[in-house]
């Protein structure tokens, strides 16, 4: 029984961390209509930033500044914010699919740079990070439980922040830009500045998720920032429901559960002679879930709630 709880804690931690990244994407795509195809670049910038700032020195690598954990995490967020700001300035004039292609390129470039820069860990990645409070909490179950609590607090904080944000006038402005940029401009708003703000804010949230992810594994390598992660995070948002924060979180838990449980179930129930092929079967199953979802409920499990303005409601 303790094993099941221990696994569920582990599962919930990973799913919660991914949820935070999905919430960041939801701010960009769901609320502002920015098609970010390079989620991993900002996720990775936060992860690398946190480990470089908070890790112990390693021969031949930059970093190992051993900053206090929360400052390292914050530093990771700042780094992904800076990356997002630069990328945003360069690409945000593009629309939809063009923006997606440009940001996807940024993500691939990010992974390639990390893979080839020995001073950033190269293909071997960055090690030597001491998980915070490890001495006090040990390395086992109690640590994972405490870390889950921390991640949940962060997740709830981000969730409440985003809920407030999209209910505010700024949130209406985001949706106005998403629906009709020209109309928004005609009302005296500055869409390009707001788009950049939303892009950077969403990316900082992804960077936070990356920082937590790297903390949890105490390790990050280019293999963690492959395009598959962008795909996974998008699938979570689409299934959950773009434009709805609750949907983003639910979609993450559901997709990640399907992703991991399909592997587990196949390893347990598939007959002996197809065990070797379960890896491939699992990909098919995951694909089916996503395709099925798109056919059955393309708006996602939790569609965006349409907000009607007060004055229109009275009529």
């Amino acid at each position: 029984m303790i094993g099941v709880i221990s696994y569920l804690v582990f599962f919930a931690t990973v799913a919660s961390i991914l949820s935070i990244a999905v919430l960041g994407l939801n701010l960009q795509w769901g609320n502002t209509g920015l098609f970010n195809g390079g989620v991993v670049a900002f996720f990775g910038a936060g992860a690398y930033g946190t480990l470089i700032l908070g890790g112990t020195p390693q021969a031949g690598q930059m970093g190992g500044f051993e900053l206090p954990y929360l400052i390292a995490l914050l530093g990771g967020m700042v780094i992904s914010g800076i990356v997002a700001w630069v990328v945003g300035l360069l690409t945000l004039r593009l629309r939809h699919d063009y923006l997606a292609i440009a940001t996807f390129g940024v993500a691939v470039a990010f992974e390639t740079v990390m893979r080839n820069s020995d001073w950033l860990g190269g293909a071997q990645g960055i090690r030597g990070f001491e998980r915070p409070l490890r001495d006090a909490l040990g390395n086992g179950f109690s640590y994972n439980l405490a870390f889950l609590a921390f991640v949940l607090v962060v997740l709830i904080g981000i969730y409440l922040f985003l809920e407030r944000l999209i209910a505010s006038p700024f949130g209406r402005l985001l949706r106005a830009i998403r629906e009709d940029e020209t109309a928004a401009r005609s009302l005296g708003k500055s869409p390009s500045r707001i788009r950049l703000t939303a892009f950077v804010a969403g990316s900082v949230i992804m960077g936070l998720a990356g920082g937590l992810y790297a903390t949890f594994y105490a390790f990050i390598s280019p293999q963690d920032v492959l395009p598959i992660l962008t795909f996974q995070i998008w699938a979570m948002l689409i299934v959950g429901g773009a434009g709805n924060n609750k949907g983003a979180v639910m979609g993450t838990f559901l997709i990640w559960a399907a992703w991991t449980a399909s592997g587990w179930a196949l390893s347990r129930f598939a007959p002996m002679d197809v065990q070797l092929y379960t890896g491939s079967i699992q990909f098919v199953l995951i694909g089916l879930v996503i395709v099925g979802m798109l056919m059955w409920r393309p708006q996602g499990l939790f569609p965006e709630k349409l907000v009607v303005s007060q004055s229109a409601k009275d009529k």
Binding site: I228, M250, R268, L276, T278
Partner: protein, 420 residues
């Protein structure tokens, strides 16, 4: 309300997916071990099949510590998140004390740091070659729980340089796969060549899955090297060699063991591989290695020509014997502590087959130690869980792959220390 229902449904589904655990009460005495291997990748399947084959051998001889072994196999998808989750599920839900895997160092490493070491589970990798594990162990972060049967890239790099020296090449261009393994070995071989006074005209990274490597090959041709060294996998290796030959490069080639595949030979064409020399860390001159090749060929209708197969075989064998020595209900640390009793050079020699497995169990039951003579030779681990291994050079022929020269452990060690 509707939203609440749906969210309850979603949560329920998620919880249901994640916690369908703990049925399957064992009817008879069965011990589970875990395997986390990239079975969705073509070259990963045979590695997993080999591990399962060893488990079958062990079960034929009556199991391990009186129990049948069930290997629960999970796919990593070569994705660290997925691999770590699979490992965590095996440790927590199936309660394994022994985990085989993974292949990529980028997956094995987070499994080690966030699953097996915290849980005190022994991890035995067949195929992770990164020197990062050695450093981690020297820092005291592995708790002695990590072993691997894949020699660090140092041995192969040194032998590659040795071949270049023997052949009298004055200059060599290095192609390496752009991952942890390739960067490791590419860097090491360049250093080794330089210290032998051989000019390294270029060190070129080969990224996976490109349609063409013309730019990379042209770059290498510029230096007009006598030979090329390749730390590449068959798919990219085939393309690089094709373009290298078609652009007029010399047929002098040295390659690491990843190109040891019939597929590579057939796709390039034997006539272009006239002066090709491969290196490997296996020790196929020993009887036990021949026995492995024969047994494998009989089992799988073909010789073990993929990367990592002999290593996977030995990893599973040694781990299971250590498990037997540690006795029933042993923890990961107990099993890890017994590895030395399996690879004791002064122990009773045992072969790597069912007969040897049974004999080893007898000796271990009597409190003795054995010297496991495996598919990769007389395996010995150092204090970091790394293997030092003898080496061979090999080449392609009409009939497949032929060994050229056997370089004993002492020769390898002497040569390596002469480099520094």
């Amino acid at each position: 309300m509707n939203g609440f229902k749906t969210s309850a449904l979603a949560l329920g589904l998620a919880a249901g997916f994640a916690s369908l655990a703990t049925d399957a009460a064992a009817q008879e005495c069965t011990t589970k071990i875990g395997a986390v291997l990239p079975t969705s990748v073509d070259w990963g399947k045979p590695i997993a099949a080999t591990a399962q084959y060893v488990v079958d051998i062990a079960n034929e001889t009556g199991g391990v510590a009186g129990c049948q072994i069930e290997m629960v196999l999970r796919d990593t998808q070569v994705d660290p998140k997925v691999g770590v989750d699979a490992a965590k599920a095996l440790v927590d839900l199936d309660g394994v004390q022994l985990l085989l895997g993974a292949v990529s160092s980028g997956v094995s490493m987070p499994i080690l740091t966030s699953v097996t070491v915290p849980a005190g589970v022994m991890q035995m990798s067949c195929c992770s070659s990164s020197t990062a594990f050695t450093v981690l162990s020297e820092d005291g972060k592995t708790d002695g729980l990590f072993y691997r049967t894949f020699a660090t890239s140092g041995v192969q790099a040194a032998v590659g340089a040795m071949v270049a020296q023997e052949k009298g090449y004055g200059s060599v261009a290095v192609f390496y796969k752009n991952d942890d393994w390739g960067q490791d070995i590419g860097g090491l071989v360049a250093d080794d060549l330089a210290s032998l006074g051989i000019d390294v005209t270029a060190s070129i990274a080969i990224n996976d899955g490109q349609a063409s490597y013309r730019a990379e090959v042209t770059e290498a041709l510029k230096g007009n090297p006598d030979a090329i060294y390749m730390a590449l996998y068959p798919k990219e290796g085939t393309q690089v060699v094709r373009e290298w030959i078609s652009l007029g490069g010399a047929q002098n080639m040295i390659a690491a063991n990843a190109l040891r595949s019939d597929e590579f030979r057939d796709n390039v064409g034997l006539q272009y591989l006239g002066n090709f020399t491969g290196t490997d860390t296996a020790s196929p001159r020993t009887e036990s290695a021949d026995a492995f090749v024969a047994a494998y060929t009989a089992q799988f209708d073909g010789p073990p020509n993929g990367p990592g197969l002999a290593n996977s075989y030995d990893a599973t064998m040694i781990a299971l014997l250590a498990m037997h020595a540690a006795g029933e209900g042993a923890t990961g640390a107990d099993i890890a502590a017994k590895v030395g009793a399996i690879t004791d050079p002064d122990g009773t020699p045992v072969t790597a087959d069912a007969e040897g497995f049974a004999k080893a169990k007898e000796v271990l039951d009597g409190g003795g130690t054995v010297s496991y003579q495996g598919a990769t030779g007389n395996v010995q681990f150092d204090k970091n869980g790394d293997v030092s291994a003898p080496a061979v050079t090999w080449t392609f022929s009409e009939n497949g792959i032929e060994e050229q020269k056997y370089i004993s452990l002492t020769e390898v060690n002497d040569f390596m220390s002469s480099l520094n």
